[in-house]
Structure formats: structure tokens, C-alpha cells
């Protein structure tokens, strides 16, 4: 199951601080009359690497999309880095510019070059001068190992490369928190590894990360907490070793047996 992770992960900089990065209290969300998220309570500290797992339709993507308000919650509180998410657009924009997000389908801007994808938000949201934004972007593109593709368009890159550009694009905003919404689910097996490697490097530098993923090898190697969701609620959360070796709820056991069975 962990064939994608074949290197030693350096834990020396992964330190969880006392500072709260995200605080979710009694959060509920409905799609029409369908209760997708029920009484979610979750506190994430700075430096935590959290993996959210669960069957499809369990609300895990919806949960992390609530954290930067791509989805609206109808009850409860979400406080991100000290800013409460309400309908106040100023707060929403503030949170969004501090929280990076990586999508399943990359969502790069196809009409802009890789470099322009990376510099767009810094220039227009952070008001960074163009030259400086380009330098920063090149640094991050080097970090995800595709500086030589900077002037190509996303459509000319492979899926794995596109996803790494998407990660670089988020990092260019110097986010405090990174959200990953099934970042490897749309990729060929060969490309999953290159994206996971990038994510591991990010974790090694101490980034606060919440990942919705089915890569259990990644969860074991990197996460400090695994959360299991089912039917819109958090069913179990624990350290990876406890979660995988000693699951408590029957639902978790069933899920793990299905996902690790083959």
C-alpha cells in the first residue's frame, strides 16, 4: 500500500505548536434538506498534518471546502487563523489568500502560462511587483522540480506536472495552511509518486496541511493525525499507527479492510 512512498521522511521540522490554526465548532451543513456535515468539531494546530479518509459521499471534501468557504456552512463556527468565516466578503478574501488549496482536477488556468498561473494571485491580490512575483514563482517551480516548464501552457504538461504546478501556484501566496482535496485521485499511478513527494517535502518544512486522500501510505508516513469520516460525521480520529493497527469503530475496521484488502 505504501509503494508510492519509497524514501525516508525527515520528521525533524514537523513540529506541532500550541497555536490554533483552524477551529471548527458544532459546524453543520445542508445541501437543500440533505444533512451533509453533522456537528463537526475539529481543532487544527499550526504544523499539524492531518489526513481525512472515508468512503465517497462521507463529506470529507465538503469539510475542507468549508474551511476556505468554497462551501457555506449553515450552523456553527469556523475560525481560520483568528478570522471567523461569516458572509463578510472581506474576511472570506482574507482567509482565502492565507489558505492554499489543491484540487483533484488541478484547476490550472489554461489560458495562462505556468509562470502566469503562479504570479497571478500574488500580483493581483497581494500587490507584489511583477518582477518579484516572478522570482518567487520560479523558486517554487524549482521546488516542485519543473522550472523548465515555466513558459509552457498547462495543457502541454502531464497530469503530475500540472498538479505540481497547482501546488506551486498555491505556495506562491505564502499560505499558512494548505488544503489538499484528493490531489492524486485523477492521476496515473506513475505520477502519483511525484505529487506525493512534493507534498512530503512540504510537510517536512513544517507546513500545516489537511489532506483528503486515499493514499494510506502517505498518511502513515507523514500525518500526525488521521480522521475517519462517514455519513457527514467524524467517526474516529487517532495517530496513524493507532488508526491503522488498532482501529476502534467497526465502521473504520470495515473501511480499512476494504481499502487495504487488495
Amino acid at each position: 500500500m505504501s509503494e508510492a512512498i519509497n524514501r525516508k521522511v525527515d520528521h525533524s521540522h514537523m513540529q506541532v505548536s500550541d497555536q490554533v490554526a483552524i477551529d471548527i465548532r458544532n459546524m453543520n451543513k445542508w445541501y437543500g434538506t440533505f444533512h451533509v456535515l453533522r456537528d463537526i468539531d475539529l481543532t487544527v494546530h499550526q504544523g499539524e498534518r492531518i489526513v481525512i479518509a472515508g468512503p465517497s459521499g462521507s463529506g470529507k471534501s465538503t469539510l475542507i471546502r468549508c474551511i476556505n468557504r468554497l462551501e457555506e456552512h449553515q450552523a456553527g463556527h469556523i475560525v481560520v487563523d483568528g478570522v471567523e468565516l461569516t458572509s463578510d466578503i472581506k474576511n472570506i478574501d482574507k482567509v482565502r489568500s492565507d489558505v492554499g488549496m489543491v484540487f483533484q482536477h488541478f484547476n490550472l488556468f489554461p489560458h495562462l502560462t505556468v509562470l502566469e498561473n503562479c504570479t497571478l494571485a500574488p500580483i493581483w491580490v497581494r500587490k507584489v511587483p511583477k518582477r518579484q512575483a516572478e522570482e518567487t514563482a520560479m523558486q517554487f517551480l524549482e521546488k516542485v522540480k519543473i522550472p523548465d516548464q515555466a513558459l509552457k501552457y498547462p495543457g502541454q504538461l502531464s497530469g503530475g506536472q500540472q498538479q505540481r504546478v497547482a501546488i506551486a501556484r498555491s505556495l506562491c501566496m505564502q499560505p499558512k495552511i494548505m488544503l489538499f482535496d484528493e490531489p492524486t485521485s485523477a492521476l496515473d499511478p506513475e505520477m502519483i509518486k511525484e505529487v506525493l513527494d512534493t507534498m512530503i517535502e512540504l510537510a517536512e518544512e513544517g507546513m500545516t496541511m489537511i489532506c483528503v486522500t486515499h493514499e494510506m501510505g502517505f498518511a502513515q508516513a507523514v500525518a500526525n493525525r488521521v480522521i475517519f469520516m462517514d455519513q457527514g460525521q467524524i467517526v474516529e480520529q487517532n495517530t496513524p499507527s493507532e488508526f491503522f493497527n488498532n482501529p476502534k469503530s467497526d465502521r473504520t475496521k470495515l473501511f480499512l479492510s476494504q481499502i487495504l484488502g487488495h
Partner: protein
Amino acid sequence: MSDTHAQTVPFVRDTMLPAAQPPDNQAGAVRWLRENLFAGPVNSVLTIAGILIIFFLVTHFWDWFAHSVWNASSLSECREIISATWGPDARGACFAVIRERWNQLTFGFYPSELYWRPTMTFGLQMIALAPVLFATALVIRRTVLVITAVVTLAAMIALGSPMIWLVFAAIAFAGGIYASERNVRWLVPVALIYPLAGIWFLWGGSLWTPIFILVGPALGWVAWRILGKRLPGVGMFAAILVTILFWMILAGDAANDAQNLIPMSIESVRSDRFGGFLLSVTIGVAGIALSLPIGIVLALARQSDMFLIKSLSVMFIEFIRGVPLITLLFVASLLLNYFLPPGTTFDIILRVIIMVTIFAAAYMAEVIRGGLAALPRGQYEAADALGLDYWKAQRLIVLPQALKISIPGIVSTFIGMFKDTVLVTFVGLYDPLKSMPDAIRANIEWKGIYWEPFIFVGAIFFIICFAMSRYSMYLERRLQRDHK
């Protein structure tokens, strides 16, 4: 893999095969003919039928074109020349009418000593269009501008332009080409101001009028600078209010006073003297330039989450699309006068431009809405997730892609609108297709000449519309960002 065949048992290729030429009948002209003209019995029959139809059409009309007369002063003279040259029963076209009356078909009743003015207007227009149409293609821009400059200046000389305006146009072209070579963005302000300059060149009158029209938005901008920093909504509203109030209350008198103080004017030409292609192109260019931005705003409004804005936009679009253009033109020419205060003179061409514009804008809005709908949801989400606000997301992410998708539809709307400009014949304007040839036929010398003006006008329309269509294909190719 239990029942593996003998020939699939372990095999290792030790030499890679080189690429080979395709068989002869699978390449070149033979293949093209086989695939495109004679792919099967039905295809072959259709090909032969098509060739026969073309053959009959060409042989039927060939004599008429071959016997055409380009030099005569009346239709009867044409007929005499044809029967003298080709025999008493010969038929032939009398294109002499085009040669005799090209100026009317082109300029309508515009004073002939001022023909150079529309020529200069539409020539210089290319400088204003360069940063819009050919923003990223230096070589094409250079070619287009140089050719336009040479043709325009030559035409102005031929039409007897005064020296001072010839010098002015030459300097403008030189400046435009220089800016286009150095940095085409310098021409963007020209693109914004040129519509006013163009109106002044065409209609003439006091130079102070366009200047004071420009002062309005300038004051509005000042109001926005003062208020907009803290209260963007109020600032925007104040800017629009200041601009409109200035235009309504002060601009006219101020322009008159300035004119009395320092006279600066060129001979003015009334709207009823516009006609022919001058009229069509004027209405068409104005309609194209105005209907795109209005269409974008309407499309965005229709996609808006705000109920009132959305409903207003839907009502406007559905109403305008549900009414024939001619109805709107009649409203422009007849009804509008009833609603306006007595004594207001509201130029007929301006009224027609407004109606044609809102008609095209309603269609444009639907075309662009299609482009907006074709964008994957993820693009909006990615823009949101990066912290871009609504307007920045629209401007930087959504519209560039949506407009690119909509290019064929947008250009179709432009082409349709340009052709519809001939409908102004119904409100008494001299369009090139109906009213202008009627006026020519009203003359005893050309009574009864029908086909030749139609063919000429059709050919000109075809050239302009075909150019637009080719441009849209060029643009699509240029904006293509992936391998297809």
C-alpha cells in the same frame, strides 16, 4: 494467461523498426481525391452532381459577365454597346453604373468636396484598432498599418484633401506606426478617445463639442478618486452622476461659449446626407464597438446571484430578442420623438445606432453566456481559492476564457448586425442595398438597372463579412493553448 499461444511465448525485440513511407495510394493527391471526393458510391454521385451544377451555373452566367460594359453614361447606351459588339440577342452586365455612381453608393449624399473626411476617419481608425485586434502580432500589425497608411493617404490626395489634413493624417499614421513598433499599449488611450474623434471627423462642427464631452468623464474620474477610495460603491455612482449631469447641464453651453471665444471648427455635415456604405459602416462599427461591452455586462448580470439584477437582465434580453429589429428601428425613428421633450433634436443616426446596439447586445449576451456556462466550475473555484474578488476573477480568469470560447458566436453576431444595417432603409436612411440604388434608378439614365448594383453591394458586403470571419479564425488559432 494459462492458454498462451505458441507464437506469444517469450519474445524480445532486439532491433527497433525504422519509420517507413506509406503506400503510394495512401498519400498525396490520390489519397485526398479518394477520401474527399470518391469515398463511396453516394459520395461519387454527389461529387459529379455538384460539378454539373457548378458547370451549368457558370455557363449560364458566363456570357452576362463576359459581355459586361464598364464605360457608358446610361443603361440604353450600355445596351447599344452590347448589341453592337456581341450581336442583337446578346445579354450583358452594365457595370458602368458602378463606375458612374460609385461615389453615391459609397458616400451617399455626403458633400463630394469632403469625401476625404470619411476616408481619413476609417483609415485612422486602424491605428485605434491595432491594440485591440492585433495586440500580440507585431508583423501583422505593421503590415496592416503600413498598407492602410499608404492607401488612405493616396485616397485622400485623390479626393482633394486640403494639405493641412493630409499632413495631419500622415503624422498620425507615423505616430501610430512608431507606437505600434515600440509598445502597442501606448495606443490604448487612442483606442478609447478615437470614437469621439471619428464622430467629429464625420459630422464636423465645433471641436469644442468633443472636448467638452471628454471633460465629463474626466470630472467623473476626479469624483471617483475623491470618494472611491473609502466608498467604492458611492464613488462609482457619484462618478457616473457627475458625468451625466455635466453632459446634460453644462457641456452644451460651455462648448458654445468656447466656440464663440476661440472658434475651432470644420464644416458640419448633417445626418441626412450620410448614405451608402458610409452609413452602413458607421452604424456597423459603432454597433460592434458598443454591443460587445454591453453584451458582456448583460451576460454577467444574467449569471449574477443578485435576484433583481438577474431579473432585469433576463427581461431586457428576452424582450429585445423577442422583437424584430425593424420594430426597434421604427421606435427609434417615430415613437422616440413622442417621449422626448418637444424641440429636442436627437440625431436619427444616433437613435438607430442605439437601437442596433441594444439589439445586437441582447444576442451577444446570450452568446457570451454560452461561453460562461462552458467554463468548468473548477475555474471559478480556483480563482476563489486564490482570494481573487469577483471582478478580478471575472476579468483575469473567467472572461478571457469565456470570450475565447464565444469567438465564433460573437463574430457571427457582428456579421449579422453589420448586414442588418441595411434595414435602416425603413426609417428613411439611405442604405447601400435598397435606398441608394433606388435613388440611382430614379434617374432616367439608369432606370431599370437592378442586378448590377445588387451584385456590387453584395460583393462589398461579402468582402467585409468574410474578412471578419477570417479574422475570427485567426484569433481562435492564436488563442489556442493546447494540442488538439
